[in-house]
Symmetry: D3
Subunit: 134 residues, 6 copies
Amino acid sequence: MSTIAPPADPESDARVKAVFDDIRATRKSDFINNMWLWLAFDADLLEQTWRDVKAVMATPSALDPLVKEMLYIAVSVSNGCGYCAHSHTAAARAKGMSDAEHADLLRVISLAARTNQLATALQVPVDAAFDRTA
Amino acid sequence: MSTIAPPADPESDARVKAVFDDIRATRKSDFINNMWLWLAFDADLLEQTWRDVKAVMATPSALDPLVKEMLYIAVSVSNGCGYCAHSHTAAARAKGMSDAEHADLLRVISLAARTNQLATALQVPVDAAFDRTA
Amino acid sequence: MSTIAPPADPESDARVKAVFDDIRATRKSDFINNMWLWLAFDADLLEQTWRDVKAVMATPSALDPLVKEMLYIAVSVSNGCGYCAHSHTAAARAKGMSDAEHADLLRVISLAARTNQLATALQVPVDAAFDRTA
Amino acid sequence: MSTIAPPADPESDARVKAVFDDIRATRKSDFINNMWLWLAFDADLLEQTWRDVKAVMATPSALDPLVKEMLYIAVSVSNGCGYCAHSHTAAARAKGMSDAEHADLLRVISLAARTNQLATALQVPVDAAFDRTA
Amino acid sequence: MSTIAPPADPESDARVKAVFDDIRATRKSDFINNMWLWLAFDADLLEQTWRDVKAVMATPSALDPLVKEMLYIAVSVSNGCGYCAHSHTAAARAKGMSDAEHADLLRVISLAARTNQLATALQVPVDAAFDRTA
Amino acid sequence: MSTIAPPADPESDARVKAVFDDIRATRKSDFINNMWLWLAFDADLLEQTWRDVKAVMATPSALDPLVKEMLYIAVSVSNGCGYCAHSHTAAARAKGMSDAEHADLLRVISLAARTNQLATALQVPVDAAFDRTA
């Protein structure tokens, strides 16, 4: 069940087809996952989202591609996004994440959520030593 | 302002002193940040929290120490924990995070939050290809 | 699957029937969606919730009814509430939301989530110009 | 206090200056709020963020500019972003939001958060009638 | 700093005065905390909010008043609301919460946040045994 | 659907079997719910998580066991964790939570979410009277 009906034949729209072609070329795979099929209900939203995902996730940058996928998982889980937890865990695995790394990721993100609660509950004041504007 | 008064002389409690000594030894620094001073209002909570933080963050594991700090930042920011954003950004820098890596981290976590909203708003169904139990 | 069993014959309770009758009259429809069937497990909670929803969402006020539905979607998506994303997207459509407005809504709420992460990650200080108490 | 030190002389960087000039021109105001000064620590992140904010918030689209600001507030508040609550409430006021509209906005977003909790706590199943893919 | 200017002389408005009088009578105290002073910018919003808070928090019900305050803290911390963490921790203390109970509360809510992350990250399927609608 | 494949025969691993035996002994039940089956993909993560859950939730402490379950529900719902809402509502019922207590819990946590939004939207300043460090 979803809140929109994805287009029945998305690639009949030339703008959608161009994005899908670029997704396939960038990922070197014919698989277009549901996120893109659903976003295709609005070509502009699809183009804008893919442009950003490609620029950040599929372009060499300061961080390692697998690290970026794990950061993506960390945010997605914190935001309770089930779809995103699924798609980015699959992506991290495709980029080589081992079971040991996956377990380590879970240890870190669950610990972080735990101490976040403590700091917020206590309203701990920020140490002057942490201030970069000083 | 905070919701508890941290103990005036925390190390007069032997259990607190033992934790603080271990923090100093583990981090090779005399600096005890406010989080630990505040948690010292309950020795058991302090011991339990430090034991977990040490086990996950200060023990060699599958993931690189800097990657673990960046994951910690990702969760802390997603949870809106200002104190944690401060303390773990400082920790990441102490472990060598460059400005370029910091900016890349911000690009990834802000993009993730954006697409999380889209997947949740559309209630995109999870692709069968992502199911590991199949 | 749900965490309570909704009552098998909710309208046998006069208080529940009165609320359901008012929902039908207010919405000019016989359809009672699951949210109300489930809340009927406690007549007081049902009455209180419907009273508030009716007062805010079904009573003319400063904001346009469709704008109110879109705000409801924005909050529901940010809170990761799948049921609410579904029910309020349906409500917004019933009040005339076009596909173009839906896509625009998605653009705004996903952008907001993105810049929220940036402001929190950087802990940007609030500009004096924004302070209304000055 | 913040997690980075914003550049002392941001407009000495030509890319930053170009963005700031465009912010001033687009908003017809000399005021550059802190968000942009802080993002200027990385010219690419600044450019990318401004490009998106301008495209979504400062370009005519299906939704009214004030409605877009109120949606931005709804998400920012739900995510607990204090800075964003401040900056977008100021922006909404600048676009004409009255006190009555502000109060109505608060009624809707606080009600939404309330019923989100109820639907999630009860794990209410989505009504078949809401499914657009049917 | 806040996003509205609270009224300079709130009790000059008879509706506001009536609410404030009821707050003082209900709580048997002259202290009106800032939340109510700020909400006084809109008499309707103030009345509606106080009516609900009084009905739920200041009226005998199935749960103990202190338990209700601790639940309020749990939600407020999870939502990252600093003001609410402060006000409800103070309220819990006024209702007798001991340091040991406070520490126990923190242990539970921080553990919950930790295992929430794990369940969401793994997307653990709900056990049939938990389904109340079966 | 889930993001990992739980082990087919988890108790063939002696560390997993030891944890499962302790869960059964502690809970006086043969039922092992899915959370533990899934966590068994990494023995260390399973051990660490069970150790913490047992220490906090299955060990006598300052707060009543049922109160602790209700706090767990409050956090789980606020974080949008469906699995956790299910498992801890079932646990609370097993510990004696009545329908009236359940409804009261829902009233409190939904009210809290509502006023959290108001306090954050208004950025209400914390009253000096709430500061415990003064």
